[in-house]
Subunit: 268 residues, 3 copies
């Protein structure tokens, strides 16, 4: 137990929605005398309703947090419909949110305990007690995350579920010599899902060319500042996958790269 | 006393102004040995100088926080002029900021204690001691909020005032079968001030049509995902008032909705 | 020791990079039983790769924090190249980041202790231990900042360096009757480097005109709300330097002001 709740949403920070989630957490914690928790933002500017982008973001953003952390994540276009509402735990770290595929990645690397949020004492608007049908972030997920971070047992949240309740996102359709772009970052760098530690990645280890939107891109380069010129280049990114950048420019704009675009790795 | 100061401003996060406010709070807290407080952002992207929008945001964002919380709010186009600088308390929760109408909503639901910020030991830039005429957020409101969150008494902040010192915003001019749009959120949903728990709201409870910028909008729908088609619909929002959304689209853009626009509810 | 790490970057908040930095700090702190630190954002929307803008921001944003605070700052276009990686301390406050001029301002006002980050136990991705060449914010600076905030000694970070290792930014080329614009803020106000407490500043104390992009601007005005009309005016800003604003408008847009632009102060 470390008393930290992190927040990942597509709510943005211009509206009061994130503040209301924070207030809901604080109001639950006020019922645990002497408990002092912290709420930490991971990100709130996820593309609205884009569960796939959110899952990638969450995987990266939650990689290093210690046991006892509770990650509350809400990108939930199906709020109020039949999708499950879950809490789940892997390696001592807890995730709370919708079972719409957002947490599907957890099941790829070890067993996950899953429960359905169903404790009537852990839900409802902090002042009125009413469960809004459109704001489960505040009225369902926030109280559950707050109780769990304050030391409540996962089993108190509700009855057990299974990994299928986390939902699953369709896998991108890439062939054996292909990779997909999964994220364009603020600097215009493109992150792909081509892992350095894969057959194709090892083949590229000594150097090689990938085709991005038809254009050949050479690599690997070892630092942004060591690129030979202004042309886009590839390198092994900080998440262990192939990325494309350009010194002093935005590779994504130069090459026309967008999330979902498929790269080719020509056979040598 | 819970040791939390929340921040709500129109400063944005691109400039160092919010960081300076945080530093001012931290420098006061350093004088209380053993005290460990937290500063929490509610929102900093309020429309610049728009006190009405800020008041609505603040009301929503501060609804659930426990007793002892100190809410520091600065949307203050009249900084340095004659408007009062106040701290006020309702139900054990404290608000600190300008008396320009921002906190007027507090007086609608119960007695509010008001004091004028006038303690010479609680003001001035943390390093130079000078009170900037243009940055009361840092030099006047932040120290007061920090002292109050650390356990100082409200009366230490200055002499008593009255509810009129909070200021008042002009009420929107809506007739008995009308409602006003108060906020457009990130998803393009329009929030109105038509309360479910009002005569007009109860009349709409079983279903009905509202006219938004001339267009008929049907409802209520119970979840975003259960709308029958792409047309905008209305529903009872998470704040207890009528809202307008569109499945897979931005209702505000589809219908031309903006804050201040008046809706009609035709008599049936 | 106060257990606070602040963050200042050009990473933005749309990508997971800041969240990964936060996770790296949390994972280090989990190794200090009983230690409870806080990570505080100063700003993440600095112009990408703009070390000069970042240095100005950092100077303002860190002015008031108490002894023991650790400021982690990363605007680092040369990541992975030969620029030093440093921790430095002035007046009991620690700064961690690249030695590319970002911290050069510290040496202007007192002695600075400098060390090179070189502790092999304080680096590497929190899960894999690998030091990414492109993400020192997470793998090098964050662990160092976390250890230092948790009570480790500065000397544990690595061998001593000197003030020259902080790097230096070229001084703006302004003559004796000139000043440069250093920042345009959210409200369109222009902040200059003309200090009130300088020969030129004292000359303007009783009132005078500056030429901004050729246009005469009168001042000083004492509060935004007390300007006589819509014309831009100057005033002594909250940082002790001359600023230009316009009542109800954006002075920077009205006059065409941008960072780096040089103002003239005509001799009277």
């Amino acid at each position: 137990m470390n008393g930290i709740v992190t927040l990942t949403t597509d709510f943005g920070l211009r509206d009061p929605w994130v503040a209301e989630v924070r207030g809901a957490v604080a109001s639950v914690w006020a019922r645990y005398p002497g408990f002092r928790g912290q709420v930490v933002d991971l990100g709130h500017d996820l593309p609205p309703h884009d569960v796939r982008a959110a899952a990638w973001f969450l995987r990266r953003a939650t990689e290093a947090w210690p046991r006892g952390t509770v990650h509350l994540a809400v990108v939930d276009p199906g709020v109020g419909t039949e999708r499950p509402a879950v809490a789940c735990r892997r390696d001592g770290v807890i995730f709370v949110g919708p079972g719409n595929g957002l947490f599907g990645f957890l099941a790829e690397s070890g067993p996950v305990e899953v429960v359905h949020l169903d404790n009537p004492l852990w839900r409802g608007h902090p002042r009125t007690g009413i469960l809004s049908r459109t704001f489960h972030g505040r009225d369902l997920f926030a109280p559950a995350a707050a109780h769990l971070a304050a030391g409540a047992q996962l089993q108190q949240a509700g009855p057990p579920g299974c990994e299928a309740d986390l939902g699953k996102l369709p896998a991108p359709a890439t062939g054996s010599r292909q990779a997909a772009i999964v994220w364009i970052d603020r600097f215009g760098n493109a992150v792909t899902d081509l892992e350095r530690n894969s057959a194709l990645g090892r083949e590229l280890e000594g150097g090689g060319t990938v085709l991005a939107a038809g254009a050949p891109v050479a690599g690997p380069v070892t630092a942004y500042g060591s690129a030979p010129g202004p042309d886009p280049f590839w390198y092994w990114g900080s998440g262990g996958t192939l990325e494309i950048a350009a010194a002093g420019g935005r590779a994504a704009d130069l090459l026309g790269l967008v999330p979902g675009l498929v790269l080719e790795v020509p056979a040598t």
